[in-house]
């Protein structure tokens, strides 16, 4: 190759390089000088809370929204007749839009007296007509995937409509008329509304605290598509939270990016301290962590698997002491109302080869419950962010009896497990060489490791029983559990309303309970007790009934009660006034409606581009003479 031929072009290359470098530096420098201040406050945007999480809002319409991302925005922007006694973790019902209420002696008629000062953020007052419209609307839309069939079913006439065969994606006028004529929700006067139930139902007020019973502005809905029974209102799905009675109002929802709510300056109650809450959607947990550490996020959602990125592992696992390992963080761990995960044992499962039905044998089920190493699962798989399973009623809820649960709980005991398995084998429940497969849905790492833990501990017993672990993709998992084909599978339940009636029937009632049916047991006596507890108004009697059902569930060991997860709240320490309530859809940000704020600090941090310029200069400048020499 001819060297001399390159000399002319090298100069050009050098010139081109210099021009490119100048353009880049000028562009970047210009950008930063134009759009970045020279200093930034230590607490960025003190009037705005930035919550970085995953999962997008599904629908803004409270009548149909049934996911946490939507729920938390509705909780900030809309209100129900009654709510929980806040601030704090209490699930005791307190007045909200209704300042008081009366209950008829037979427990079937609730009369709510509205607060006359309550108004929507557009200034219009909340009337009994709005309340009636809101509740009727949620029933009449009747989304089978929404919250109405769970929560509004007890209102007179609602059950017939919500279980009607052709009322979804179809306006069945006869069914609509039947519901409206039943008179479940009546306007007594502009500030009084009466709700009649088809039977006394003790947890009714709790169901009225769920976002499905949020009051919407009738005139606004009617002006924007109105109500078509059996169909969504698309305008409401996108915009409902713009006009509510809550302390915030929706100003922006950009799907897969962010939701922005701003303080309702027209709020009828105590105004929020924060001017704005931004919910950012960031799927990658590493990115969320970096945003928190850098101060761009004030609160993030952190899965239990990443717990030790923020707190001291030894202190947490040995004394349950929460010590952040990064400066400026604030971390809290609180028990939730979620009963998950648990192994559901299918009593009707028959071994396809031998025809044995081992899980139908109580001793065999006891063996399973004793063979699971609860402590190892909680400490190593979920990093201690759970407590051992307590049966169907979560701790802190009415009906939870700690003393009773402690006396009934199984603990990991290989000796007892062996004893019970051998007893079951002697009784012919299974024979040596029996294999049973544990199933979990693909992608759930905690469940996979839970299955492996049980498999290993059973293998170590040497009782002629082998457990195998098999993952199934979600569609197959669902299909097979519904068809009762799986012997052992994971089950769990999260709260709709703060009452055991949301949980106990699911796990115990073999007629209607989602899991009880899939586990193939049905005890009419217990079903009757569950039904009785739902309508019993005497708390003492009610509690006694739930104690009986809980005792029975533990004694029959149909389920291995593995854990109740803890809520992990990770924030910067400048976020003040946060508190946990297990009924919040979005425990990280809903306290913004009840006085949460960001502490203002006067410290400023200087931003300077000189160090960057120095770095560039130190790297680039020494190389230039080389190019120049080559060029020459």
């Amino acid at each position: 190759m001819s060297e001399k031929k390159t000399s002319g072009t090298s100069k050009k290359t050098l010139a081109a390089l210099v021009i490119i470098v100048i353009i880049v530096i000028a562009g970047v420098g210009g950008y930063y000088y134009m759009y970045l201040p020279s200093t930034r406050p230590l607490v960025p945007n003190p009037d705005t809370l930035v919550h970085t999480t995953f999962g997008d809002v599904d629908k803004m319409d409270p009548a149909v929204a049934y996911d946490t991302a939507s729920g938390q925005i509705i909780e900030l922007t809309m209100e129900t007749l009654v709510y929980y006694k806040l601030p704090g973790a209490s699930t005791e019902i307190a007045p909200k839009l209704a300042k008081s209420w009366d209950v008829s002696p037979d427990g079937k008629v609730y009369t709510f007296h509205l607060d006359e000062t309550a108004k929507f953020n557009d200034g219009s007052p909340v009337t009994a007509e709005d309340v009636k419209y809101s509740i009727d609307r949620a029933v009449l839309i009747g989304d089978p995937d929404g919250p109405a069939p769970i929560l509004l079913i007890h209102i007179l006439g609602a059950a017939d409509y919500l279980y009607c065969e052709d009322c979804w994606q179809n306006t069945n006028q006869a069914a609509v008329d039947a519901y409206l004529n039943a008179g479940g929700v009546k306007v007594i006067d502009p500030l009084t509304v009466q709700i009649t139930l088809d039977a006394a139902y003790a947890p009714f007020l709790s169901t009225m605290a769920y976002s499905v019973a949020s009051v919407v502005n009738k005139d606004l809905v009617e002006a924007n598509g109105g109500l078509t029974p059996g169909f969504y209102n698309e305008w409401m799905n996108q915009h409902a939270t713009e006009v509510g009675t809550g302390p915030f109002k929706l100003v922006e929802w950009t799907p897969k990016q962010r939701v922005v709510v701003e303080r309702n300056e027209n709020y009828w109650g105590t105004p929020a301290k924060l001017a704005r809450v931004i919910v950012n959607e960031v799927d990658e947990v590493g990115t969320r962590e970096l945003a928190l550490f850098a101060g761009d996020a004030d609160v993030i959602t952190l899965p239990a698997t990443n717990l030790f990125d923020v707190i001291d592992k030894d202190k947490w696992l040995s004394n349950k002491e929460v010590v952040p390992i990064k400066p400026g963080l604030s971390v809290s761990m609180d028990p939730t109302y979620t009963v998950s995960p648990n192994f559901g044992l299918n009593t009707k499962w028959k071994d396809p080869v031998t025809g044995a039905m081992p899980l139908d044998n109580k001793d065999f089920r006891y063996g399973m419950s004793y063979a699971f190493d609860y402590k190892t699962f909680i400490d190593t798989v979920v990093n201690g962010a759970a407590i051992q399973g307590v049966g169907p009623i979560p701790p802190g809820m009415f009906g939870y009896n700690e003393e009773l649960v402690k006396s009934l709980q199984f603990s990991y005991s290989p000796d007892k497990a062996k004893e019970y398995f051998l007893k079951a084998k002697a009784a012919g429940a299974y024979s040596d060489g029996q294999t049973i497969t544990l199933y979990y849905n693909t992608g759930n790492e905690a469940r996979r490791r839970g299955c492996l833990l049980l498999k290993d501990s059973v293998a170590a017993l040497g009782v002629g029983l082998t457990l195998e672990v098999q993952e199934l993709d979600w569609p197959t998992f669902l299909a097979k559990t519904r068809a009762r084909e799986l012997p052992i599978f994971f089950i769990g339940w999260a709260p709709d309303f703060a009452d055991p009636d949301d949980y106990v029937p699911v796990f115990a009632n073999g007629e209607i309970g989602t899991f009880a049916r899939r586990q193939g047991f049905n005890n009419p006596e217990i079903n009757a007790k569950v039904d009785e507890a739902a309508i019993e108004s005497d708390p003492a009697k009610r509690k006694a009934l739930y104690d009986e059902v809980t005792t029975w569930l533990f004694q029959e060991a149909y389920t291995i009660w593995v854990g109740v997860p803890l809520n992990i709240h990770v924030a910067r320490d400048w976020v003040k006034g946060w508190f946990y309530n297990p009924m919040f859809a979005g425990p990280d940000i809903v306290p913004a409606a009840y006085g949460m704020y960001k502490e203002e600090r006067t410290d400023q941090v200087a931003i300077t581009i000189e160090p960057l310029a120095l770095v560039i200069a130190a790297t680039v400048v020494p190389t230039l003479p080389n190019y120049a020499r080559k060029g020459a």
């Binding site: 001819s2 089978p144 799927d283 970096l290 979600w474 569609p475 299909a479 581009i609």
Partner: protein, 381 residues
């Protein structure tokens, strides 16, 4: 063939205007030729059977795995009663034979009803594609620019300086590129250019998103094309334009790195191959400068394989955007498809596959047209 003996190339030329004009005239002639029109029409018509094939495959795959009703129930939503599930089965014809279901699907597709995206708040799939596709298109184009603008010159340098330190360095660079998982690279870039710079109070690049939330709140953008940089420019919203551009740097680079590395390797090998040809020796023996030999004579022929790969890479970039968009929380079609896959949202998955297939085919068509432009010996027909 006699090349002009001036010390320039089509890329770094002193009388570019003449070369550009000649090329434009050629391109214009090419596009307006009847033969070409027929060729393009034939290629577009050929897309139909391919699209039918794609729709059949995705439809069959999504319906034979597990219980199809799960497509309408998320894994979080286990509270449905049996009656509700039965209603879903009937509403979606899930108890009909597969070919009947396919017929329903394809007829809806033709009527413009691509179904409802459950992962996108039950919006029509078409609307979701309109919303998310521009973000991915913008990201993909920036990545393509990164990949080509860096990959081709580096590949040329690597070939020209074969077995020199520059060559070794570029080979390491490209090996790292093809072997490093994109999500890992993305996290490293975030850590270095966002986190480390930020905590040391240096100007830093954003960790994700399309624009900064506060810039957006202060300068709301009137969306026209959905490409924020373009919209920022045409509406005169320069704050958004700059911010959107800055937000494209890290994801654009992360996404482009694999293909940049491929281009480097491809360019290097084809360049070495071409440099061994007799006509290059002839050109050198005529006393042409090395730059003219490389850029004027060798480059064009060496470009053909790279252009082929670039066409395929465009589709690959779209598909690769799935991971990059997730890590950088970039609201594009890839991220939408990931959430659709996680929730077994069949309508969205099928919409995504179809749109990717169309883009892939169009990219290949453009590549075939480019062949004729780069090498006039190639005739379309």
């Amino acid at each position: 063939m006699r090349a002009k003996a001036h010390s320039s190339s089509s890329f770094f030329c002193s009388d570019c205007s003449a070369t550009l004009l000649a090329q434009s005239v050629f391109l214009l002639r090419l596009v307006s030729s009847v033969k070409l029109r027929h060729y393009v029409i034939r290629r577009l018509l050929l897309m139909i059977p391919v699209l039918i094939g794609v729709s059949m495959m995705t439809f069959t795959l999504s319906h034979v795995i597990g219980d199809p009703v799960a497509a309408y129930i998320s894994s979080q939503d286990v509270k449905l009663s049996e009656q509700q599930i039965q209603r879903i089965v009937e509403a979606h014809h899930l108890d009909d034979p597969l070919y009947v279901q396919y017929f329903y699907y394809i007829s809806d597709l033709l009527r413009g009803d691509w179904g409802i995206s459950r992962t996108d708040s039950d919006r029509p799939v078409i609307e979701s594609i309109q919303r998310y596709f521009p973000a991915t298109a913008e990201l993909t184009m920036v990545s393509m620019v990164f990949a080509l603008a860096l990959g081709i010159p580096i590949g040329i340098i690597s070939a020209v300086r074969k077995d020199r330190p520059e060559d070794h360095a570029t080979r390491v660079f490209s090996l790292v590129g093809v072997s490093m998982p994109v999500f890992w690279l993305a996290l490293l870039l975030q850590y270095a250019f966002y986190y480390q710079l930020k905590i040391h109070n240096l100007p830093n690049l954003p960790s994700g998103g399309r624009v900064d939330q506060f810039v957006w709140i202060d300068n709301p953008l009137h969306v026209v094309t959905g490409l924020y940089t373009v919209d920022g420019l045409i509406t005169g919203n320069f704050a958004i334009f700059f911010d959107a551009l800055v937000h494209l740097i890290l994801p654009g680079f992360a996404l482009s790195y694999v293909f940049m590395a491929v281009f480097v390797r491809m360019m290097r090998s084809s360049m070495l191959e071409v440099m061994r040809q007799d006509y290059i020796t002839l050109a050198r023996s005529k006393g042409l400068s090395e730059r003219v030999v490389i850029y004027r004579h060798a480059l064009r022929n060496a470009m053909i394989p790279t252009v082929t790969v670039a066409g395929l890479a465009f589709g690959g970039l779209l598909a690769g955007a799935v991971l990059t968009e997730t890590v950088f929380s970039f609201p594009g079609i890839g991220r939408w498809s990931v959430s659709a896959i996680v929730r077994d949202d069949i309508a969205s998955i099928m919409g995504f596959m179809l749109i990717i297939a169309v883009v892939y085919m169009l990219a290949n068509l453009i590549v075939d047209l480019l062949y004729a432009w780069i090498d006039p010996r190639i005739r379309l027909g």
